[in-house]
Structure formats: structure tokens, C-alpha cells
Amino acid sequence: MTDALLAGDLPLPSRPNYLQHGTSVISWLTTTDHKRIAILYAITITIFFFLGGAAITAVRLELFVPNGGLFTSDTYNKLFSFHGIVMVWFFLVPSIPNTLGNFLLPLMIGAPDVAFPRLNLTSWYLTIAGGAFTVYALVAGGVDTGWTFYTPYSTMFSNTHVFAAAAGVFVAGFASIATGVNFIATTHMLRAPGMTWFRLPLFVWAIYATSIVMVLATPVLAISLMLVMAERWLGLPIFDPAHGGDPILFQHLFWFYSHPAVYIMVLPAMGVVSEIIPCFARRRIFGYDFMVYAMIAIAGIGFFVWGHHMFVSGQSPYASLIFSFLSFIIAVPSAIKVFNWTASLYRGQITFEAPMLYALGFVGLFTTGGLSGLFLASIPVDIHVTDTYFVVAHFHYIMVGGSVSAFFGGLHFWWPKITGKLYSEWWAKFAAILMYFGFNMTFFPQFVAGYLGMPRRYHTYPPEFQVYNVMSSAGAAVLAAAYLLPLGYLAYSLFYGARAGNNPWKATGLEWTTSSPPPPKNFDRQPRVNRGPYDYHAEGQSAGTDVPELQNAREVR
């Protein structure tokens, strides 16, 4: 990684980039290039995002007035179920790992591709297959169990397309596992010479930790759904209380995956933010080592807390105590990360490009969501607010305020690298700010409504909650506009945007040393790494010393 390369000064030979290398549809559908697979995934998750968004638009319209009457309660149940299933498994779980992760992981470690390129393509096809099942479930009439598929309702009493929806998620789960295996092997075996573990960008660490969670947690989800499908399709009594089945067992199996799943959804977001903040504050990340340990801790401890979703389900109080205690513990590494992001800003030269706006938004919204999680970890408080809008607000602050913000931030940050085009900064800033306000307007009233007792998953509510619902629905309209705007200006940039150089943000990282867009094999020469990441200037130094020659405090390892 030479300075001239980072500065974009060396004239690289002209050759087709990965977008031009084969232009037929077949070449895209049979590609093993991780960058093209990332684009395939990006298109897929965008479609699902808007499908899930359409469902929740209908929900928020219904909730505008206490007795909306737009939909029957059955249809309403199908709408929020579809929203949850699609947003969790077909948008959030694959979003950052399979789009940004797929594109950037090999680039950031200096590799020509992932360890198992054909498996990578298989993952995408599995996601498509799973999506097909789920869309079939929708088109055939929907599923009304909620995204959680709780038994015995899902196995014995629901008359909706539980099997198809569960099958869709089951298949998509294997895509997740395959991706996880691929990324773990890639990180271990394909790092460029000199790229030691503690020189890796935090995004790589985040994807690595996420992959471990994907590999170990997703199989249990597969089993939980397989049991539901077996009971429905073959009539085998597994969760049927009349035959001695234990419905709470389903919840154990389901949440053993679904709690680590939220870390699958948030760890990559944390990785993105850790890339953006140093670049736009021109400061190296504060406490790199602890950022790494914190991510590993979150990934690990995340497996021990699932029972906090079951405090009122009939779980034994002793187990609940253990889960509650561990849920408090897991707040610590997240807090360390928030502190370190904030400290990384100190005495920086901060600029507010769109990626930075999203990243800073993430820090605030994730903190709010995380703090509300502590309320939920406390059993007495949870008993009061469980199954209310308080919980809905909590996880949307993290999933939407956190993960989606980070996804948009990363999308904008790496857009020039992926497409070779520059987007309109004015429109991007406008959309980011609009999103922040729309988000808070949508979800903050839900904290209040939930605390005051409004239950979730109901299509009608007592009139005293109307003011909060009106605010929330209005906010949702603003949020929708903010999410549609990027479709416009990003698409515009593809055709009319200015050409991007290698390193428009003057960022560190191996991905910025190659052309925008990169050539099919990523690098013309295999990079050799001899310094750590985030080689921005140290605290107390001026931006004038922000030159790549500046030695990282770390010795060569």
C-alpha cells in the first residue's frame, strides 16, 4: 500500500472493470465474482425492503385512527407478520453482510475473491429460493403468526400459509450459513502478506464475528422451523400440549437463534460506522483493540441471553434470573464501542458528508435503543412493557435507527468505489437529515405509547393512544420519503454522476488503493501491508500531518 496509490496518483493501466467484464444477463447470473454477487444481493434486498415497507405502510395507515377499519384483524395480522419476516430475514440479515460484506471483505484484506466463490453464488440462489417461498406465502393469502411463529398457534390453529413462510425462512437460513462459512474461511486464509489480524479494518472484524454467529445460530432456527413444518405437514405431535408437547421448547429453540440474529443485524452496522467515523473525523479509531474485543464479546455473550424474550412465557424464574443478569452484562461491550466512537471524534477535523451524517445518527439512535434494552432486561420492568409498543420502539431504534442508518451510510461511503460514480451530496445530506427526523417522529412516540400500555400486534386501540399513533404514522410518511429519495439520486448518479477517482474520500484501507470500480480480480498487484488501519493523524496533531507515512503506534507484528 504505497502513498501514491492511496493518493490516487499512479496511473493504473486501463482495462475492463468488474462491471464491464461480461455484460450478458447470463454472465451476471453465473458469476462467481464477489463484487457482482454483492450487486445481485443489493437488488434483491432492495426489492424486499420495499415489499416489507409496503406492508408496514398499510399497518400505519390502519393505526392512524383507533378503529381504522381499513383491514380486518386477520388481514392486519398477516400484514405485520409479513413485514417482520421479510424485514428480518430478507432485508436486515443479508443487507450489510451480503452486499457490503461480499463486495468489501476480499478488497479490504487484499484478496482476489472469497474462499469459495461458487458457494457464494449458491448462497444468493438459496436466498432467492427462500424469497420465492415467502412471496408465494404472501400471494397465496399470507401468514398471521407474527415473524416469531409461536406454537401451538402456528402448528395447530393458524389457517394461513405457515408452511410456505417457514420453508422460505428455512431455505434462506442455509444461505446465511453458507455465507458465514465462506467469510470465516476467507478471513483466515486469504489475507494479503502483512495483513495481520490486528491490522484488519474493524469492518472485517465485524463481518467475521457476524459470520461466526450466522454459522452457529442459524441451524437451530432451521430446526425450530422444521419442527413446525413437520407438525403441520406430517401431523407429528411435537408441540401439541395434548400429547405432552412443550410450546415453550419452541421458544427456546427459536430465540436461541433469534437473539444472536439481532447481533447478526447490528455487528456489521457497527463495522460500517467504525470505517466512516475515522475517515470523516480524520482521526484513527480510539481503542482499536477494545473495539475488537467488544465485538467478539457481543457475538459470544449474545448466545447466552435469549431467555429475556421469554420472561412472561412461563419460563422458570431461576432461568429468567440468569438470562436477565447476562442481558445486563452484554450492554457493557456495546457501551465501550459507543464511547470509543465518541472518543474517536475528539479533536478531529469533522466534516458532515452524508455517510458521516448516517454514522453519527447511528451512534445516537443505537445508544437510545440500547438503553431501552436495559429497561427490558430488568424483569420487573419487562413484565410491564412486554408485548407493548415499548418493545417495538426498542428494536426499531436499533434495527432501523441503527442497522438501516449504517447500511445507508455504508452505501453512500462505498458508492463511488462500487459504481465508479459520485452521487449528489446535497440530496444525500437532505435525505439523511430527513430520515433522522422522520425516524424519531415515527418511533419515539411508540416508547411512550408502549409504556402507557398500548399493546403491539393489535389493529385497534383505545382512543387515549391516538395522539401517539398519529405522530408515529406521520413520521412514517416522512421516513418513507427519506428512503425513497436515495432510489432517485443514486440511480441518477449511475447515469449522470461524475466519475469517481480511486479515493474520493481520501480514506485509508486497501479498497481505496484500487480503481473505482475495481477490476475483476480486485488488484493489479497483490498488496503488501506494512501498517495498521486508520492511519489518520493522532490526537493533538493537525490535519497537516495526516499523511500515510505517519507511523502507527503499533510495531510491525
Binding site: L216, L249, F256, F303, F304, Q315
Partner: protein, 107 residues
């Protein structure tokens, strides 16, 4: 061209006989354990009877994983991968049973 997989001395050439012998011994042990567990299943030992069957299964699985799958002679990273799977299965069991046993009390 060195042979990295055979557990026998790396200098001697691998012959079919050596392979059959090494693996055959493990296989014989596995079959003995199988018939032992079969026999013990008919012996009244209270709660020990089912426990013994599961313990023997663990022993057989250990033989297969350490010797047939050569985990014992694999590099540390491979052992770590296997260990990770084991630790999280153990977690799944431990915390779920913490709930089930406290509720049901083994009735």
C-alpha cells in the same frame, strides 16, 4: 512428497495393510463399545442404565472424531472450530435445561 494424514510414522511408506490395521483397531473398539451398550441396556441400574448408553455414545463419538476424522492430529484452528460447535451446543443444552428442569423437576 510427505504423507501428512497417516498417524503412523511419517517416514515409513503408507501401505494398504497399515491403513487397514490402524483403522481396523479403532473399528473393533467401536464395535465392542456398541455391543457393550447393547448388553448394558438390559441391566437394571436405575437411572444409570440410560446414562451408561449415552456415555458410551460419547466415547464412540470421541473415537470417531479424534481418530477417524483425525482431529487429534489437526492444526489448532481446526480444533478451535470443532470446539466452538461443542461449546455452543453445550450452552444450548445447559440454559434450556436450566429452565426445563426448574419447571418440571424431572417429573
Amino acid at each position: 512428497m510427505t504423507n501428512q494424514n497417516s498417524a503412523s510414522a511419517s517416514k515409513r511408506p503408507t501401505t494398504a495393510w497399515r491403513l487397514w490395521r490402524r483403522n481396523g483397531v479403532i473399528w473393533a473398539a467401536l464395535l465392542c463399545l456398541l455391543f457393550l451398550s447393547l448388553g448394558l441396556a438390559y441391566v437394571q441400574m436405575g437411572l444409570f442404565t440410560p446414562t451408561v448408553g449415552i456415555v458410551i455414545a460419547f466415547i464412540k463419538a470421541s473415537l470417531v472424531i479424534l481418530l477417524f476424522m483425525e482431529l487429534a492430529s489437526s492444526k489448532a484452528l481446526i480444533k478451535l472450530a470443532a470446539l466452538a460447535g461443542l461449546i455452543f451446543v453445550a450452552t444450548l443444552f445447559a440454559l434450556t435445561l436450566a429452565d426445563v428442569l426448574a419447571r418440571v423437576g424431572g417429573q
